[in-house]
């Protein structure tokens, strides 16, 4: 820890010059620890380049650096967390990198509850995943390269999280996108993988249009890219901002939809499975998909305050609800274990988004927090299974319980946590979200119709509970198909090496106990954590459990597990019964993911890449160039014409006159008429004409 000691003392002094003084009186400025937090984004970025360029020469070919970096992040995150809980920190540091007109452009770092929570999650979860990756990626063709881009991935996320202004956020945002593109397309020899990577990138890029526009509107109407300035403007109710707030909020939310895989921009996430499993783990748990949630949370006052973007919340809650329900259903029919998890992630993200829509800031972030642990755990577990059986399909698995005990135990913990079984982490967070829906549906919350309205909130509550059932159901299915019954695959599966299952255990602990950070009426650590911001977020804070919701939620989960057991537990049900589960009409719909992918591909991408592009190209060659070349050819044609006239005009004249007087003989004669007198004739003719002109002019 000498490093940190050094950080907390020297670095701030070093930086005092470069940074302009941020910090806020009522909240602590976090001292050197916060002042030095610029290391959090910077270290991994630098590390990524170091690994890419020199990683091969290190003892563990880059893994060592990467993991060390994540270790550093985890530790730093933890320290900040502790410091924050000791005394809330709200610190902002910035370096001006340019000034355009009157606009300052800055790199900076923000240290407050929200970002600290993210630092912590990214650091800790990331650390475990990197640890695990050593075993998983062993013998990969591009081992070093993988860790380089993986570090870039995490680094990008940290840049995003540490951003005090929209510009830097966008930078991090896109860095994450690029890193994901690299990682998803890690095995680019296979066309499908690179296509999946491009799909992810482009889908996000589409959403980024929204983010760009939103950022532009906010920045221009406030006069600064800084979140703090924007949110202060919201506090003070600056009219210039209020005027455009709705559109800005909507645009920003569209951006968030992309990264956080909200319906209908969720299509890229399942395909992102093409990447190595650790990538999926990190992507679904801590980085990338959480970015959207984080962004909305970061700008939450904008969405919360009347007269600003509060009406966007109706959109947010609807989108969230659709996502959490529809994507959950798809998970029911997936055979690829990773895809099951992927769709479950989408569904959980739906919960978070919907919660934000309902105004439940804390609940949403809390679910993000817990979800990070158990989803990472589940993915890594699935990874170790896949590692063992060399297949993603659950139909090739079964009975792995006895071959890989650690994997089994941890996976079950994760599954239960996801299903929301008390007292695991998932229970508390999901319960808070459902409770927040109920609160929003109740009278005392001023959840106006424009913002969504009570009725909507109640519908979403129902959907949420239904989705809880669905979640439990498909997780049960996954567990039973994978770990129970007879092994249906080939070869001899075996437990993964320690370097892989130790992280599982670590994450399992997190999944088990993270929930206790925020037990309504008991502990409020998390509330204080994320509440500690320069601009406070005033969201409803439940004093105690909402019994109704607790009962319904638990019931739904247990019911789901029970049904899962009835249908999927080996020998519990005949194939016929399982087939009956393949409801006609609904099943193919789910199988084909509501045909959305096909719609995008056949309806948009293919036309643009095909006929439209070809058409434009044709236009270029055949219309514009036609004019250009046409002019050229015209000039030459004209030249030919004029030349012909120049050389034969008089012949023509005389021949014409000769034609009627002399007939053929005459004509033949003309053909070799001397040119001199033709010229002379032309001259005389020209002269006579000019003179005639003069005379006529004189007469007039």
């Amino acid at each position: 820890m000498s490093l940190l000691a050094a950080l907390s003392t020297e670095v701030p002094l070093l930086l005092a010059a470069a940074t302009e003084e941020g910090g806020h009186a009522e909240l602590g400025d976090g001292g050197g620890l916060a002042a030095a937090a610029w290391l959090i984004p910077l270290v991994p970025m630098v590390a990524a380049f170091v690994i890419a360029l020199f990683g091969k020469h290190f003892p563990y070919r880059g893994w060592d650096i990467a993991t060390a970096v994540m270790g550093f992040e985890a530790v730093y995150g933890t320290f900040l967390l502790i410091a924050h809980l000791a005394r809330p920190i709200a610190y902002e540091g910035a370096i001006e990198i340019a000034r355009i007109g009157s606009f300052p452009i800055e790199w900076g770092w923000v240290v407050d509850g929200l970002s600290i929570m993210m630092y912590f999650v990214v650091g800790v979860v990331g650390f475990f995943v990197f640890l695990y990756a050593k075993g998983y990626m062993e013998g990969d063709i591009r081992y070093t390269w993988f860790f380089a881009s993986f570090t870039l991935f995490a680094g990008g996320m940290l840049v995003l999280v540490s951003a005090p202004n929209l510009i830097q956020l966008i930078v991090g945002w896109e860095l994450v996108g690029v890193a994901s593109w690299l990682l998803i397309g890690h095995y680019w020899e296979d066309h499908a993988n690179s296509s999946a990577a491009i799909k992810a990138f482009l889908t996000n890029k589409v959403a980024d249009v929204g983010l760009f526009i939103g950022a532009i509107i906010l920045a221009l109407s406030v006069g600064s890219f800084r979140f703090s300035d924007i949110l202060h403007a919201v506090e003070e109710g600056v009219p210039a901002l209020a005027q455009f707030a709705f559109w800005a909020g909507l645009a920003v939310f569209i951006g968030a939809m992309g990264k956080s895989g909200q319906f209908p921009l969720h299509v890229w996430l399942p395909d992102a499975m093409a990447g190595p499993t650790p990538v999926s783990a990190l992507m679904h748990a801590a980085t990338m998909v959480t970015a959207g949630i984080y962004l909305v949370a970061r700008l939450f006052p904008l969405y919360l305050t009347e007269g600003f973007a509060d009406e966007v919340r109706s959109v947010i809650i609807i989108i969230g609800a659709l996502t959490l329900f529809l994507t959950g259903l798809i998970a029911l029919v997936q055979d690829d274990i990773k895809r099951v998890l992927a769709y479950s992630t989408l569904s959980q993200l739906g919960y978070m988004m919907a919660a934000l829509g309902a105004g439940a800031y804390t609940a949403a972030l809390f679910h993000l927090f817990t979800h990070a642990f158990f989803k990472a755990l589940l993915f890594l577990g699935a990874g170790s299974v896949i590692h063992a059986v060399h297949s993603n399909n659950m139909s090739d698995m079964g009975g792995l319980r006895k071959y890989m005990p650690w994997t089994f135990r941890t996976f079950v913990i994760g599954a239960l946590a996801l299903a929301g079984i008390a007292p695991l982490a998932g229970f508390f967070s999901k319960d808070e979200i459902l409770a927040s829906f109920r609160y929003a549906g109740s009278a005392e919350s001023g959840f106006s119709a424009a913002q969504g309205g009570a009725g909507l909130a109640n519908i979403v509550l129902v959907l949420g509970i239904a989705a809880a059932f669905v979640t439990a159901f498909y997780m049960a299915r996954a567990v039973f198909l994978t770990f129970f019954g007879e092994y249906k695959g080939h070869g001899h599966p075996h437990e993964s090496p320690a370097v892989m299952w130790i992280p599982l255990v670590g994450l399992a602990v997190g999944s088990a106990f993270a929930g206790f950070l925020n037990v309504p009426g008991v502990t409020e650590f998390f509330t204080e954590l994320v509440g500690g911001r320069a601009v406070p977020v005033l969201d409803h804070h439940a004093e105690s459990f909402d019994v109704v919701v607790v009962v319904l939620g638990l019931a739904a989960a247990l019911l789901g597990i029970f049904f899962g057991y009835r249908i999927w537990y080996p020998d519990k049900a005949t194939q016929a019964e399982r087939d009956r589960f393949h409801v006609r009409g609904l099943y193919p719909l789910l199988e084909n993911k509501y045909y959305i992918d096909d719609l995008y591909f056949d309806g948009i991408i293919r036309p643009i890449r095909g006929p439209v592009a070809a058409g434009v190209n044709w236009f270029n060659g055949h219309v514009i160039d036609f004019v250009v070349n046409g002019a050229g050819f015209l000039a030459r044609g004209l030249g030919k014409l004029v030349y012909a006239f120049d050389q034969n005009a008089v012949d023509g004249a005389i021949n014409a006159s000769g034609a009627f007087t002399g007939g053929w003989g005459e004509l033949l004669r003309k053909v070799q008429t001397g040119r001199v007198q033709q010229y002379a004739t032309m001259i005389v003719a020209g002269t006579v004409l000019l003179v005639a002109g003069i005379v006529i002019a004189g007469i007039i």
Binding site: Q647, T673, G674, R675, V676, Q677
Partner: protein, 101 residues
């Protein structure tokens, strides 16, 4: 004496010369036509000189010079005609079409 009488005579002879220059096939005859035109111009000059009573006698002097120049031209012209004739045994200009394109 009407000045126009002389001028019209000059114009007439000039036009005749133009006509000849256009219709004659034989180079020598073309040259003759040119001589005719010059003669016409000279009539103009001298008549006008007298009409204006130019004490610098500009018209007469001009006539003198044009006569001299015309003589020179005839010399040059005949030389060229001889040259052409020697190469193609004919002084008919309408057989000159080497550079017809």
């Amino acid at each position: 004496m009407l000045i126009n009488g002389f001028l019209l005579l000059g114009a007439a002879l000039f036009s005749l010369g133009v006509y000849g220059l256009l219709v004659r096939r034989n180079a020598v005859l073309i040259l003759l036509s040119v001589e005719l035109m010059v003669a016409a111009v000279n009539i103009n000059f001298v008549a006008l000189d007298r009409f204006l009573g130019d004490d610098l006698a500009g018209g007469q002097v001009f006539a003198l010079f044009s006569i001299a120049v015309a003589a020179a031209e005839v010399g040059i012209g005949l030389a060229i005609i001889l040259l052409v004739f020697r190469n193609r045994q004919s002084a008919n200009v309408d057989e000159l079409d080497l550079m017809r394109l």
